[in-house]
């Protein structure tokens, strides 16, 4: 099987959804004729004609359009080009999409998928760098996932599209063209939810998601050299969150850390720790949150590096919990 990029995996999932379900439509800014600013939706317009179309720069109309179309039986997939831009149209997602099923007691639903991408990349400015998953995960009625590998970019998106509730799929701009892998494309769609253990270990359970998964895997590799065995769990879905997999892991390792690129305060890491602690799991060290400081995100690459957890910072902090006294 050929290796494909994360972006190509998203593209393949969109193609399959459009082929398999004629109620699927895809729209957003520059997604159709230009094929997306990151090339993710390339060729879909050519293949699927008017079911794939460009919109004005009107996020409220995009998200609200998805809500209305979904209520009426379509299965819209819309793109919000940068997660930061969702803020100009939060109403349609939070006050509207998330309420449809609940207030109608299930007589109406809004089976829509919002694809977006987030994170800092060198030079990206404060309005194009934020990690906002906790804001979405805070809203009951929305499902939220963050694929970190090409296979998950494919699988999670198809699961999201099949889901009968609004799902926010937060992709990673940093990963679009930088990671490659083989992607199995003919499996049945998985149900919503479920974490994945990427690496087993016995000293500490580290929960992470999005591009930080790769940083954590590298850190785990480094720590192996220092005799520390790290179990790496990719949460994948924040809503629903797979507490069972994390708790089971912690029952073996006795330690817990959460690593995310989003800011510390109110980050979803706090929720992960609360859920484990609430189960009364015995921990042999205090749980640890590794996150970006509570800052705006600076554009200069050197400043970004100082703000966002690096591999070495992750190594250092995990070591301080697992083997206090051992220098990184």
């Amino acid at each position: 099987m050929d290796e494909i990029t994360y972006a190509q995996a998203v593209n393949a999932a969109l193609r399959r959804a459009l082929v398999e379900d004629s109620s699927t439509v895809l729209f957003g800014e520059d997604v159709a004729l230009p094929g997306g600013v990151h090339g993710v939706t390339r060729r879909l317009r050519r293949e699927f004609g008017e079911r794939v179309f460009d919109t004005p720069i009107s996020e409220s109309a995009i998200l609200g359009g998805a809500v209305g179309a979904a209520i009426m039986g379509l299965r819209p997939i819309v793109e919000i080009m940068w997660a930061d831009f969702a803020f100009v149209a939060f109403d349609q997602l939070i006050n509207q999409a998330a309420n449809v099923r609940y207030v109608s007691r299930g007589r109406l639903t809004a089976p829509m998928t919002v694809r977006t991408q987030q994170g800092a990349t060198p030079g990206s400015c404060a309005q194009h760098s934020q990690n906002v998953e906790a804001l979405f995960a805070h809203i009951p009625g929305l499902r939220v996932c963050l694929p970190a590998t090409p296979q998950d970019a494919y699988d999670l998106l198809l699961t999201a599209i099949a889901c009968d509730d609004p799902v926010v799929v937060i992709e990673s701009r940093a990963l679009y063209h930088s990671v490659k892998g083989t992607v199995e494309q003919d499996r049945p769609r998985a149900p919503v939810g479920g974490a994945r253990i990427h690496r087993t270990g016995s000293d500490i359970s580290v929960v992470t998601w999005g591009p930080m998964l790769h940083t954590v895997l590298e850190a785990a590799q480094v720590l192996e050299g220092s005799g520390v065995s790290v179990e790496v769990i990719d949460a994948r879905w924040l809503n629903p969150f797979d507490t069972d997999t994390v708790a089971e892991s912690v029952s073996r390792t006795g330690r817990l850390a959460v690593v995310h690129e989003a800011n510390l305060t109110g980050g979803f890491g706090a929720e992960v720790i609360a859920r484990v602690v609430e189960r009364g799991m015995p921990l042999s060290a205090p749980p640890l949150r590794i996150a970006t400081d509570d800052l705006r995100i600076p554009a200069a690459p050197g400043l970004q590096q100082a703000a966002i957890p690096s591999r070495d910072a992750v190594v250092r902090q995990l070591l301080s919990v697992c083997a206090p006294g051992v220098a990184a």
């Binding site: 800014e29 520059d30 004729l33 230009p34 600013v37 460009d54 919109t55 004005p56 720069i57 009107s58 996020e59 409220s60 930061d84 831009f85 803020f87 100009v88 149209a89 990349t121 060198p122 030079g123 990206s124 400015c125 404060a126 309005q127 194009h128 400081d293 509570d294 800052l295 705006r296 600076p298 554009a299 200069a300 690459p301 050197g302 400043l303 590096q305 100082a306 703000a307």
Partner: protein, 320 residues
Amino acid sequence: MSHSSSETALADLAGLWRIRCFEETVTRLRVEEQIAGSVHLCIGQEAIPVGACAALDLTRDAVFATYRGHGWALACGAGPAALFAELLGRETGTNGGRAGSAYLSDPDHGFYGENSIVGAGGPIAVGAALAARYDGSGRVALTVFGDGAMNQGAVHEAMNMASAFDLSVVFLVENNRYSELTPIAAMVRDADLVTRSAAYGMPGTRVDGNDVDAVRRAVAEAVDTCRSGRGPVLIEAHTQRLVGHYIGDAQVYRPRDEVELARTTEPIVVLTAALRAAGVSDTELTGIETRVRAEIETAAATALAAPPADPSAVKEHVYG
């Protein structure tokens, strides 16, 4: 051309070249990967900031621009070395490396900043004009945005509120016909954007955005309207970018000959031809370019020699 107007026109030409050379140097630094991230150039659109800023009083007026704003910063009077330094992530940058290409500002020169959220400057300009109601400054707030931003809810809200309250806001649309990679004509029923002013009951003017003097006159008139309490005003300036939406944009969505054609009507070509026709010598004309180019090269060298932004200060300024 009278003597004084030809003096002004020569200064305009220098202003155009200053922005052009700056943007060309930015292109080189981006291609060399000394600058990181997305960069949106205004090559071809320089006449709009040069003309507009000449009609403002930047000791009290305020400019709110977009990510395509290097030219606006320069025209407001921000120093090219500090701007280069910002793009390069240096300590001496206008924002100490915090803002980068798409979000920089220099309020000392009336440049309240770029904005990388499409349309977001509109409501903020409304607020700046609102403040003038109370501070007695007579300030006019000019907000500039692209044609695509006309489809953003925030811009509609800003125009309506400014109109309802007679606020001193100049809404200036740089219509370069594309919103990113999509032609504006495909995204509106009426591509004549200035007609929207009627819906808000405010004056609207269409202007050749490649003609510095025409832009200056249109903005001067709008500023007069505002200062006499009859604002806001909408101005639509037609122009074209001679480069991609961002550095690296292959522009496959543009007809092949479009940029070639645009090169014949771009602001520097037009103004140079007018000055030549008015009897200005080629030596003088090329002298302007040479002088400005040297000034910009020096500024870039100064910025490149500056230290990187200090990572130990990264947590400063989140709160006061």
